[in-house]
């Protein structure tokens, strides 16, 4: 395969808002966004709430349709595929959500939750093979095999997010979209999950589209970053370029808003 794994071209998404008296108004949530993510790299999209980054994530997941533009995954335009081909494509892209309390069905065992995306596979393993796959996915994210028989409420937030990551990895996806995947966690747990994502990238060559409002997290994890403001991607570049020499005022505002703990020695460690 040549070219980037994920290529977004001129992506636009309008939402039609119905006002009183039948008048309609349209809201452009994503406005002409183009970006490319190389296989095996971590691309962060950073911006404040409401800037359209979650809409972008939903479109990349093919859970929403764009108004204009294309999303190519491994060269194929997601929205030009037949429903059947799209269903087959879904195994290549999975998602990790922000809230590990809302993203796991409390009535399902962890094993059942982790195995759910196997539904996408025509030749999904059954019985013992399936269990083995679930156990491997759990161990991959640092959870013991017996976690499979337990239920989400028995786990902490960080462990739940590990379960969500195991679920995202079970189909061996090429791309994982992490939508604010660490924002709901304590700082120390955030660091653990970020380290886990980095190690999964190194071990499996995973490509990650990492969506966050926290520019400090970007510094920890991403190779490249795109800064989003009001639906537009205002600045794109490597993390070093963008964080050390921001060209846009908006990026500088985001950087200035980031609280720092002086002397912690954690920041810039990847420089």
């Amino acid at each position: 395969m040549t070219g980037p794994l994920l290529a977004i071209e001129n992506l636009t998404r309008d939402y039609v808002l119905r006002a009183k008296g039948g008048a309609t108004r349209s809201l452009r949530a994503v406005d002409g966004v183009s970006l490319a993510v190389e296989a095996g790299s971590i691309f962060a999209v950073v911006g404040e709430s409401g800037c359209g980054k979650s809409t972008l994530a939903r479109i990349v997941m093919a859970l929403d349709r764009p108004t204009g533009g294309t999303v190519r995954l491994g060269g194929d335009d997601l929205f030009a595929l037949s429903p059947k081909a799209l269903a087959r494509k879904r195994r290549d892209v999975q998602m990790v959500f922000q809230d590990p309390y809302g993203s796991l069905n409390p009535r399902h065992s962890v094993g059942r939750i982790v195995a759910e995306p196997l539904h996408l596979l025509d030749d999904a393993p059954k019985g013992r093979d399936r269990t083995a796959l679930v156990v491997r996915a759990l161990e991959d994210v640092g959870l013991p095999a017996h976690a499979a028989e337990r239920y989400p409420h028995e786990f902490s937030g960080g462990q739940r997010q590990r379960i969500a990551i195991a679920r995202a990895l079970i189909t061996n996806p090429k791309l994982v979209v992490a939508d604010e995947a660490v924002s709901a966690l304590d700082l120390s747990i955030q660091a653990q999950i970020l380290r886990l994502i980095l190690s999964l990238r190194d071990r499996h060559g995973l490509t990650v589209l990492f969506i966050t409002h926290n520019i400090g997290v970007v510094d920890e994890i991403a190779d490249r970053v795109g800064v989003m403001q009001a639906g537009r991607l205002v600045e794109t570049g490597t993390v070093r370029e963008v964080l050390d020499h921001p060209r846009e005022d908006y990026t500088r505002t985001l950087l200035a808003a980031e609280p720092t703990l002086a002397g912690l020695g954690q920041r810039r460690r990847r420089a």
Binding site: M61, L63, A87, R90, Q94, M95, F97, Q98, D99, G102, S103, L104, N105, P106, R107, H108, I113, E116, P117, L118, H119, L120, Y151, E154, A164, R167
Partner: protein, 282 residues
């Protein structure tokens, strides 16, 4: 399930008192109803005219009625008749209503149609409609079951629709969609298990309502036909003898009150125990 069983033993939690009292009353009701199938102090239909209108303990535990039938035995068999009608009616309402509710929550077009049908059903007065149904089908168990059950459909539809809509907004539903699962499958695997608690609570509360309505219908002569004893008809027949034999009215009256109270308390206790918002407070 085992985790919940363990939790139940951990002292008093919200809803413990209503749950306990309601549970005991309901267990008593069900126990008496089931016992009446194999044993009653006397045949509830046997008339002994010479023994008529005896006071409690003079003849039998609760005395006899105007035809000399044993009140305690009639009360026991009446509990069974009331409960089976109520269960069948609530079953009808719960199954159809929950189906309509989850279908409405999953599909916008269906939502508009089903909810308008529910509005229309809500607009009909249940007792009057039951009288009409009685005229149509003739009095009997089926009339009572359909008349009570049909009016419970919108209740269950609204409860399950609201609960299901909350579930549809959860991230695990989106995860299931990413796993390529369709609406029906997601409803079955994710929505129904997560709204079952609310539906069960509603079943308990509606059982109380159904017992009350069933008593009302048999009071009006639209329930099970004689000689099958029902609490409602016992009350109706007791009216004439209210001064002579007040125990004839008191016995079924208190039985209805205890059954409705027990089921309501049980529903209330279950709601406190199962409602995630109230549970988080502990």
């Amino acid at each position: 399930m085992t985790a919940r069983a363990v939790k139940l033993r951990r002292g008093w939690r919200p809803g413990s008192v209503p749950l306990l009292v309601g549970g005991i009353l309901t267990a008593l009701l069900v126990g008496i109803a089931l016992t009446s199938l194999v044993w009653t102090p006397a045949d509830p239909a046997r008339m002994r005219i010479l023994q008529k209108l005896k006071a409690p303990l003079v003849s039998g535990l609760l005395g006899t009625d105007q035809l000399g039938r044993d009140v305690a035995s009639m009360l026991m068999r009446g509990a069974f008749n009331s409960l089976t009608t109520a269960f069948a009616a609530v079953g009808l309402g719960a199954v159809l209503g929950t189906l309509a509710g989850v279908a409405a929550a999953a599909n916008h077009t269906l939502d508009a149609v089903l909810m308008r049908i529910c509005d229309a059903l809500f607009a009909l007065p249940p007792i009057l409609s039951a009288i009409m149904l009685g005229a149509l089908l003739g009095p009997g168990a089926l009339t009572a079951i359909v008349a009570i059950g049909v009016f419970m459909i919108p209740v269950f539809a609204r409860v399950s629709r609201g609960a299901a809509m909350q579930i549809w907004a959860r991230d695990y539903i989106m995860a299931a969609r990413m796993a390529g699962k369709g609406t029906a499958r997601i409803t079955l695997e994710h929505v129904l298990p997560n709204i079952s608690a609310q539906v069960i609570v509603q079943v308990t509360i509606q059982l109380a309502m159904a017992i009350l309505t069933e008593a009302g219908l048999s009071f009006l002569g639209l329930g099970l036909p004689p000689p099958a004893p029902t609490w409602g008809r016992m009350l109706a027949e007791a009216q004439t003898y209210l001064l002579q034999a007040p125990h004839l009215a008191l016995a079924p009256g208190l039985a209805i009150a205890a059954a409705v109270l027990g089921l309501n308390l049980l529903g209330d206790g279950l709601a406190a125990r199962l409602d995630p918002r109230r549970r988080q407070a502990t």
